[in-house]
């Protein structure tokens, strides 16, 4: 009786007490230094969701490989996912959530240049190390290193030389003189066209029309009708991979396939796009940071591991870029013999790393010296036409 009475009064208070102590210890547990917390920002919904899905899968594969090999200096790698939707405000709020709530010290992201440009001041203020893995707008590293942001690095080639290499190949090998522009309306799409325009005189070519599409555009007929009558022989497209099948199929419909080729970069080698409109993509010329056909033993191992993990799916460039960049972060931590973000940042600026695309080091603008591959779609397959350096000569200050 007495025991019952006691337990009636004590057990609730005891339960509350236990609950409180468990609750209060939870954040402490979660924030203990037993893991290395890395935020992965990528567009997982919206117009660039394809990129984000691949990026996240690549990052997960890298995490599993690193943890299976014993982690970094005995600590496990823990990933946190943020969805940028390819929209700067969304990317920034995902990033701030990661920094404030998930207490990440390192961030890999974003794919979309506009988002990365918006995230740079945030990581600078928070002193969180941002390693971009997949944005190509030159401004990102013009603003980093000696000229600005100390906490932004980019392990991805910039568009600076891509535009001239693509145009040169089209003008000299394909003898094309008239070009129509159809690119995505973003820092990436407009930036690449501005760089292209610098070389029009050098290669003696002209642009007949200039259009930029919103990322969710699905009706290209009015523009394709104009291009058909303008006499353009090629469309310069720095666009989104998910739009490529739409444009390609509407090119077939409008009678442009086989007469006008696509040049630039928008995953013209995506097998699904080629299947949707093989004739429109034949002869397409693209410069990309990576492709599955790249001959390198580490690349073969990556593709095999990726296919094994994800039901035989072939990775795309973003899967490679996020996978490689997370591996780079682990390597930098090993060389720093520390998991402290400031130590790792210092090592990154002097590191030499044997990556899939070659030996990587960062210049004084925190930009990795990575090559790009030029390829052409021939009968539904990508044929490598060469590689080129993307190294930049910065204007003297």
């Amino acid at each position: 009786m007495i025991g019952q009475a006691i337990s009636r009064y004590i057990s609730p208070s005891l339960a509350v007490g236990i609950l409180l102590s468990v609750l209060s210890s939870l954040p402490a547990l979660a924030q203990s230094d037993s893991t290395i917390r890395v935020g992965i920002v990528s567009p997982n919904t919206g117009a660039a969701a394809r990129y984000g899905t691949f990026a996240w899968r690549g990052a997960q594969l890298s995490r599993d490989e690193i943890n299976a090999a014993g982690g970094i200096l005995g600590k496990e790698l823990e990933l946190f996912q943020g969805d940028s939707q390819c929209i700067p405000t969304e990317g920034v709020s995902a990033l701030q959530r990661m920094i404030a709530q998930d207490k990440v010290s390192f961030v890999i992201g974003d794919v979309c240049s506009s988002v990365t440009l918006a995230m740079q001041p945030i990581v600078e203020n928070a002193k969180v190390l941002l390693i971009n893995a997949a944005s190509s707008n030159p401004d990102i590293t013009y603003k980093a290193g000696v000229d600005g942001y100390k906490w932004s690095f980019r392990n991805y080639p910039t568009d600076e030389n891509r535009a001239s290499v693509v145009l040169k190949y089209a003008a000299q090998q394909k003898k094309i003189t008239k070009y129509a522009v159809l690119s995505v309306d973003s820092d990436y799409g407009r930036g690449a066209i501005n760089l292209t325009k610098k070389y029009l005189d050098e290669f003696k070519v002209e642009i007949t029309s200039e259009d930029y599409y919103k990322d969710k555009e699905a009706d290209f007929r009015p523009v394709l009708a104009k291009i058909r009558r303008s006499g353009a022989q090629a469309i310069i497209m720095y666009g989104l991979a998910d739009t490529t099948p739409i444009v390609a199929r509407q090119m077939v419909e409008a009678g442009l396939a086989g007469k006008v080729i696509l040049i630039g970069s928008a995953e013209f080698n995506n097998p699904e796009a080629i299947k949707a409109a093989p004739t429109a993509l034949n002869g397409a010329v693209e410069a990309a940071a990576w492709m599955p056909e790249w001959d390198n033993p580490r690349n073969k191992a990556f593709i095999d591991a990726y296919r094994q993990k994800y039901n035989g799916e072939t990775p795309n460039v973003h899967a490679y870029a996020y996978w490689e960049t997370l591996s780079l972060l682990a390597e930098a931590a090993k060389q720093a013999k520390s998991t402290d973000k400031d130590d790792i940042r210092k090592v990154l600026s002097t590191i030499t790393y044997d990556g899939v695309m070659g030996r990587v080091s960062f210049d004084d603008h925190n930009q990795a010296n990575l090559p790009m591959i030029l390829f052409e779609i021939v009968d539904g397959k990508s044929a490598i036409k060469g590689t080129f350096s993307t190294q930049i000569k910065y204007p003297s200050r």
Partner: protein
């Protein structure tokens, strides 16, 4: 130049037909409920996704997928209509805004959760190009315009001649009067909602093959454009909707073809602002119907 003008008009009528099909349902729902259905584009998306699902997973041919997509979407709409839309009859108009915006988020994210956020390629359709006035078009586009004209003729007949149509018009004019006279307003609302969402689904499944890719958020853009169309056509005016849809489509094609694709999405909003300033009852109504 002359040929290009004709080609852009043809492109505009095709794009406009898609808007009109979606807008017809939205304007009828507005008529009976006095509520803008902000989730209307989501039924367009559900229609396309249902067709994609039955074609890729169950190997159903495209023509049967059109019917199945409408059935699946209308079935979902029946549940939503019973649980949400019928309650809006007596609710203040703010509830309608909140409820339909909420539904839009739920439907979009349910699809993203079930099938992932990536774009999917829509299989099927009649994509053989045919020559029409020296313009190369996929057969599918001719099907869309033909289907739109048939649907609007049927709607016109229904609204004027059938009991259901008369009930819809009566509820649009005065809900209380209908309740007094023994018209089951809630049933009319549910019926109109199912009809309207069915039309949106039809539009989606017909557009799938030419828009090539489908994704969870695809309905959003169409809702915004549809909004411009129903204001232009006169809220609740079915006939005006078709003309307004074509007008917006043609205006967009001209802007995309002669000025620049990047300005295309602005066209609808510019027209919307202009109409609200100059002729708030729409182009085709003498006076507002409410």
């Amino acid at each position: 130049m002359g040929e290009l003008v004709i080609e852009q008009m043809v492109n505009g009528i095709i794009a406009g037909s898609v808007y009109a099909l979606v807008a017809a349902g939205m304007t009828m729902i507005f008529g009976v409920l006095r509520a803008i259905n902000f989730a209307h584009g989501e039924y367009y998306m559900l229609g396309t996704f249902s067709a994609w699902f039955v074609i890729t997973r169950l190997d159903v041919p495209y023509i049967a997928a059109i019917a199945l997509a409408i059935v699946i979407t209308v079935a979902i709409a029946a549940v939503v209509g019973r649980l949400v839309m019928q309650r809006l009859v007596t609710a203040p108009f703010q509830s309608g805004v909140l409820a339909t915006l909420g539904l839009s988020l739920i439907l979009q994210n349910a699809i993203i959760l079930s099938f992932g956020g990536t774009y999917k390629i829509f299989p099927g359709g009649w994509l053989e190009p045919v020559m029409f006035l020296d313009i190369s078009l996929a057969e599918q586009r001719i099907v869309i315009v033909a289907a739109t004209i048939v649907v609007f003729m049927a709607l016109e007949f229904m609204v004027r001649r059938t009991r259901m149509g008369k009930a819809i018009r009566a509820v649009s004019q005065n809900t209380e009067c209908c309740q007094v006279n023994g018209i089951d307003v809630e049933r009319v609302v549910l019926g109109t909602f199912m009809l309207g969402t069915g039309l949106a689904a039809l539009s989606g499944v017909l557009t799938g093959p030419i828009n090539v890719t489908i994704y969870g958020g695809m309905g959003e853009a169409i809702t915004l454009k549809t909004f411009a169309v129903i204001v232009m056509g006169g809220m609740g005016n079915v006939r005006g909707t078709l003309l307004a849809g074509w007008l917006l489509g043609i205006a967009e094609s001209f802007v995309a073809g002669f000025i620049g694709l990047q300005y295309r999405d602005a066209v609808g909003f510019v027209i919307l602002i202009a109409i609200l300033m100059i002729r708030p009852t729409g182009f085709f109504s003498l006076k507002a119907r409410f």
